[in-house]
């Protein structure tokens, strides 16, 4: 089981894997999808896919669409693991 700190670390790693050219200062938990240069629908798909594979979980269609920030992804993953 992950504690919040570990889970946040893993979620953040997913962001940096999907957005390969992102710098540390470009990341924030609250930053919204529209404020990312490369967060398009395919990047959304990659985030979901990567999270599902990493934690062996499955997001519903609604969840997949509603995630708009790193924090929301973290909360969504957490809800599946608890």
């Amino acid at each position: 089981m992950y504690n919040d700190k570990d889970l946040k670390n893993e979620t953040k790693k997913i962001f940096f894997e999907v957005f390969q050219n992102m710098n540390e200062e470009d990341f924030s938990w609250e930053k919204q999808q529209k404020d990312y240069e490369n967060w398009d629908s395919f990047a959304q798909l990659n985030l979901i896919t990567f999270s599902e594979a990493k934690f062996d979980i499955t997001f519903s269609l609604d969840e997949s669409i509603e995630i708009k920030s790193a924090d929301e992804l973290f909360e969504c993953i957490k809800s599946h693991l608890t």
Binding site: E17, V18, Q20, D40, S41, F42, A43, L45, N46, I48, T49, F50, A53, K54, L61, S64, I65
Partner: protein
Amino acid sequence: MNVIDYLENNSKKYPEKNAIISEDEKISYKELYEQVQNFSLSISTLNKQGVISLIAENSISFIITYLGIIKAGLIVHITSTEISEINLLNQIKSSNSQLIVCSEKIFDNISKYSKIKIPILKLSELKAVSNIEEKTFKENQIAHLIYTSGTISEPKGVGITHSMIEFTTKNIVNVLGYSNSDIDVLPLPLYHSFGLGCFHTSMAVGSTVILHKDASHLQNLLDSIKKFSATTIAATPATLTKFSKLYNTDLVDYFSNLRLVITNSTAIPKSTIQSFREILKNGNLATYYGLTEASRSTFMIFQEDTTRDDSVGKPAPEVNIRIEQNGNSRGEILVKGKNVISKYWNNEMADENLIDGWLRTGDIGFLDKENFLFLKGRKDDIINVGGEKVIPFEIEEVVKQIPEVEDVAAYGIENEIFGQVIKLQVVKSIESNLDKSKILIHCLKNLEKFKVPTKIDFVEKIPKTSYGKVKRFMLK
């Protein structure tokens, strides 16, 4: 010159020479020609014109029957010994075949098919009669009819004319250097264009065919190569890969007399090509690209230069290839030449793939600056991810770069948002701890976002045809 002329000429030039040596019998050119003549007469009494179906395993009887039907001026419809009842019924109906001639083993199976209403005869039941009647053939007369393997669609009948056989055989002989001194090991099914083309070649030059029922016993093939001092062998990439993995250290000795190993257009693993570079001390590995509708359209002889190991070679002499590009350098491969059919067998819908002599192959690929052709998959296999076109082959190539990946197949699955997304089936190497995240990270680094798979299943085996092609319809 047609295949009967080849045989007749050789029966005069090399009457006592072995034309075919099979696992349990052999036959000289003179005997083969006589038996083909006799057989053609026995067929003539049964059927004055039309199509006769031949279903049998590789054997000298198969060859006599095949050539005998052609010599009788009829069309021989050849089909797989593994054919299902429904496919056989479809082919009989489409070809309008009047008679089935089959081996004893096949007879036991198909005689149970109650819906087949035409006569079924065993090879042994056909007896020769006297009074040989000479036949002449028109160039555009169909010699044999093969149905292309329908996977999800209706099979298409492909009628191969005498002139197509002559053209293709001439190209094979010239490009790959076949001669009457060759001894050719042939373990490929004769009901397939690859095997049949090899057989025609041997008949054209007057070499000796060492005919095997199949390639399932590798040691038998090796024994034949050694026993008969074979100079060529034809085999699928899957067989060659098995050879290179199982017998790597001993193969050099077995293959020392071979001047040519010919395989076909399915992608050959680079490691297999490299193994054969080392194994073949006095010969070359070669491949070709072709369809039943356009046999041997390219040839590739693998040389020391490894940069084009994934190419299927340059267009064959007097064969034109062009790529119908769709926004990038890759596109559908179109072929034009005397090896290309002018129309399908009673199939107007399929004829739409033929425009001004150009055959739309349905294969995706590109030509490099020196006109080498590279295959990149099937048009039907293209995955449409939110309007972006993805060729599975491209994904598979990238995933195969991961050392722990033994095999992989990519295909499209339905998705509510994107229409389709990409799914992978992956075979991990033994004892590997490869996980899905590692595959995704590798894909994210090496592919555009829309090409990254969304689902990954680890499986024991990828379903493939005996020719090594992924059966994608079975993945979905």
